[in-house]
Symmetry: D2
Subunit: 360 residues, 4 copies
Amino acid sequence: MAVDTEAGGSDAASGETVTASIIGGSGFVGGELLRLLASHPNVEIVEVTSRSKAGKSVGSVHPPLRGTDLRFTEPDDPASVDVLFAATPHGVSMSQIDDFFDVADTVVDLSADFRLNTEAQYEEWYDGHDAPEYLQKAEYALPEINRENLEGAELVAGGGCNATATILGLYPLVEAGIVDGDQQIVVDVKVGSSEGGAGGGDASSHPERSGVVRPYAPTGHRHEAEIEQFLDTSVAFTCHAVDMVRGASATSHVFPSGPVSKGDLWKAYRGAYEDEPFVRMAAGGSGVYRYPEPKAVAGTNVAEVGFELDPTNKRVVVFSAIDNMMKGSAGQAIHAANIALGFEETAGLEFTGLHPVGAP
Amino acid sequence: MAVDTEAGGSDAASGETVTASIIGGSGFVGGELLRLLASHPNVEIVEVTSRSKAGKSVGSVHPPLRGTDLRFTEPDDPASVDVLFAATPHGVSMSQIDDFFDVADTVVDLSADFRLNTEAQYEEWYDGHDAPEYLQKAEYALPEINRENLEGAELVAGGGCNATATILGLYPLVEAGIVDGDQQIVVDVKVGSSEGGAGGGDASSHPERSGVVRPYAPTGHRHEAEIEQFLDTSVAFTCHAVDMVRGASATSHVFPSGPVSKGDLWKAYRGAYEDEPFVRMAAGGSGVYRYPEPKAVAGTNVAEVGFELDPTNKRVVVFSAIDNMMKGSAGQAIHAANIALGFEETAGLEFTGLHPVGAP
Amino acid sequence: MAVDTEAGGSDAASGETVTASIIGGSGFVGGELLRLLASHPNVEIVEVTSRSKAGKSVGSVHPPLRGTDLRFTEPDDPASVDVLFAATPHGVSMSQIDDFFDVADTVVDLSADFRLNTEAQYEEWYDGHDAPEYLQKAEYALPEINRENLEGAELVAGGGCNATATILGLYPLVEAGIVDGDQQIVVDVKVGSSEGGAGGGDASSHPERSGVVRPYAPTGHRHEAEIEQFLDTSVAFTCHAVDMVRGASATSHVFPSGPVSKGDLWKAYRGAYEDEPFVRMAAGGSGVYRYPEPKAVAGTNVAEVGFELDPTNKRVVVFSAIDNMMKGSAGQAIHAANIALGFEETAGLEFTGLHPVGAP
Amino acid sequence: MAVDTEAGGSDAASGETVTASIIGGSGFVGGELLRLLASHPNVEIVEVTSRSKAGKSVGSVHPPLRGTDLRFTEPDDPASVDVLFAATPHGVSMSQIDDFFDVADTVVDLSADFRLNTEAQYEEWYDGHDAPEYLQKAEYALPEINRENLEGAELVAGGGCNATATILGLYPLVEAGIVDGDQQIVVDVKVGSSEGGAGGGDASSHPERSGVVRPYAPTGHRHEAEIEQFLDTSVAFTCHAVDMVRGASATSHVFPSGPVSKGDLWKAYRGAYEDEPFVRMAAGGSGVYRYPEPKAVAGTNVAEVGFELDPTNKRVVVFSAIDNMMKGSAGQAIHAANIALGFEETAGLEFTGLHPVGAP
């Protein structure tokens, strides 16, 4: 595999191809990985597993892949590959991580299993951890805050979608010292139904889920842990389900200790993101789309970030919008894998989105 | 008219009928008033005006009223009535208020023209006021916080929909002293497209508005003025347009100065609302609908209110959901008019809503 | 019970109250019955059964009923009542019909179990029938075509929603001889997700069901049997799922053998429906709503019916729109029960709908 | 330009780049062209005109293009280019076609101005024609039925979206002689709101347009002319607006004169489409997506086509689904231009769609 050779990165960038497998390919995230990797210039998919759909064509589950030859296989005897993507439910990867590394040089995990740094965090926020020895080795998949560590990484841990949206909105304020861990920050997130995955019970049936503004996880959302880990500040975090399928939008209310101007804010955001291929500023202006919106980034790996300054109550309102399936999951994972494997960062992630589009 | 006679209230309650007119009946709010008053046991509609639709049947604009004989008339020579409902754009009522009282004993205004108490507030938040002498006379239409003053009121001022949702959520905390004006309160509101009214430009066209989570009025929303006037506390207020037609949902994040228990919260809310005919608590429990949702109150005059306590960051998260056309506008106005005129409070407002329902 | 006494009908109309139970009250149709009967002036609900939700409050499942005291009970020992409404899955009522009549004088069944006239039809379209001796006794619940037989009926069989929409659109053409059984009629129906009921699998999950135009039952839909039974003509029938929760819209393409004018059509429809309380014509005119639309009747028992004449291809296009939960199910059942029990036809069904409203 | 040289086609395919302009770039179709051409390997956009948005960046109108340098220019002094795409309202291109050819070698028109073959058709279905001498020169942009004539074409006429969906569904039956012009064919089309374009009045405002099943153009739809021109058969055509932004779905009911088997149908469709890069069959099978659905092709240039055979009424039900902005407009135009200019047919059109996705 590219990153194991001396000249890895550059070779790869100039056209090398790696073999890849997807563990858990019948869910929404697995399907998104499939879709992206199928047209990735440096990746050859050699296996897609799904216990429930083994034997079926991938197109029978994911309509955009109709006509593809690939079929789901049983996950019991995984193929040897350069890179393995795990799109399995929380808890699976931590229990199989040794097996994954037996067959792959690089593992990209899209569950929550390796996002947090310490076993203690998993004790507090989840149900503990089966393989804590891997936690320090894992690199968080968000290049905007962790690019240097992703180069050559062997274990990549995909971020949570809501955490990703929030972190991308607040990170420049932390870097610029406008957020310093002492203020109260309120984060209100709106998410689409694809976050619930392909199964779902009564609450996610169309008659019950259609048209909602439904609070869920009003307190104690697990993504708080990630946000606090990377921003060194606590947040008061609440989610609402709204009527879209793809998309996560985070509105963060920040009350800086000292005076802040619009110029300070622009400087902070431009400084953080002007060279980033997948962050786009949207902060005011004219027209219909003035601030970040999930619609505007649906299907893309782009995060839109913007802000407004409220002089009355000395508040900075930060908006960030992503496609939870892309920048919030599969797209982020491939972006990180591209860096880990030495490919072009944007390889396979060039789609720029649609306008107009309905509830994406 | 009932309230002008000695025995007014009780007579009315026992079956008296008043005559009513609607000024500006072709918009969404005017249509909602029409719909409600058409089946109100104590009201006879004698006139509905609309400059743009004069001569047309009300059913040609408002489909549920197909088959009704009523037609829109020019507004220039208004009929004498007991009660006049004004559903005109902001600024119209303040300029015509003397004319309204020339033909009606009671005026119920559904615009923003008489919501605030002082001319200074109108200078700060709007473009000043044409008839400031009426401001002290006007009674805010929200019975839950102003019932006693509404009895016999001659000028009723409908509240703003977003303000109504927010006030109903926070009022019990203010009454109980849990909110005392010193804390930072963040309010994040999600609203449907009917708030924009029947016209609307590019931004409210279906292709652009469908499926959005779109920040608007991120700072400086005029409803802040109402909220602060009635709750004696400032709020940091931000709105988002989401994909529904009817509905407003307010999530308020409150950080009490001292310790608060769930029991304290239940006591505050029960104390404020247990006898209210149009407030319903939804705070946890099992099933799909655990917290307030606009879907659950669509078409009704009910406000759902609920809360959750976040022990980690000492936060109370308050949820409130209304139908912006009903409790946030026409329903609230009729509720207030029922009190002003001495009718049963719930007259004409008995509809209990639908389940399931889509984007209401 | 009213209909068993000499003076039944008139007594009832003047205020008599009957006792009622709902068998299967936790589904969508059961909830709709509950909602309607709870405010019906002549009905007292004494029991609502649900095996899966026994012990829970009805409001925990159906949000508009929050605050109601009623709780679901086990269905094993049903109460004696005047009228029993069965909202159970297909096949249950036919197997329990004797039990139902043991405890009730009148049975209103909302499943498909008693819609067809003969055992042979059930052999052809369903899986046969357990109680064929009741088939001739059952009266189809659609008053517009069967009012006289519903008076005093002891077993009322609710019609299928798609069949109801189609029959109401075509019936006047049959009555007027414009449809005579020899022409090919094509019926294209669009339905909301509530038709699938409260459970539903992958296909009805929000991510998969949202935004669809999805053919289902493209051929061989069971409602063809009902349509042909009542209209004496065969139809070529195809359904599509579209993005709404409530609503069924039928577009029927008819090719009359001889020349037909618009005047002939108006005469046919006016003749059939001008005295009907729950049928409303919408056939052209100006404004946004020119033809029948599910949105315009959402939450009501109204069927909108309209047509257009295509001189080029000698086609009559007939549009009919209903709320599948109301005129297509619970509303129709109560309308029929009102007639069977001698109440005002419109009792409990007065709601006139909302404007604007989103996906209903 | 490629097509003017001897070796045009092959040279172009091996990497030649042409210059292109878009006349009318601020509408939905213009934006879609921009989006596609911006990442087309063989096209350099040199000008995008818009009278109303001249001077503004293209990203201020079309969010996916934020960050692009391109700005709208006044249309008065068009640049010389190899290929000019006209995305102007009906009637504009026919009046400016000489001007277009003054500055461009190839003109691709996306309006209705050159779709029909004769002036007589424009007299019958539109308001006549200003430049009838071009009608015979224009080539219909649908490669599946007109590929050979598109090679080297100088004037390409984009098809109507509803006509495209219908033609692609029925064409194989015509080719196979199963449809021969004698049978009655009923076509029922469901379309999204983007068909109405970026402006739109009351009927396309979100509150009125949301959640609809709304008949429009129930008879006499102009696309009938195109369908009949290319299929040599008349159709009874009716459209319905449904709640999506992108997408057109045509259900065609065909009654063949003689017996037809499923095998005959498969043979007809496979024969017509097995080598087509942008037609995909979906006819039965298991899973959620069994027949063509607009969701499954949203954002792509793919048409899904499928069918079902109804033995009872000897009917073939044909389903076809496209993205009206892509295969129904801009995608089709670029596909045709690729052929006209000798590029790879799929160049710039490789996006395969999203799953899951909401109302596309």
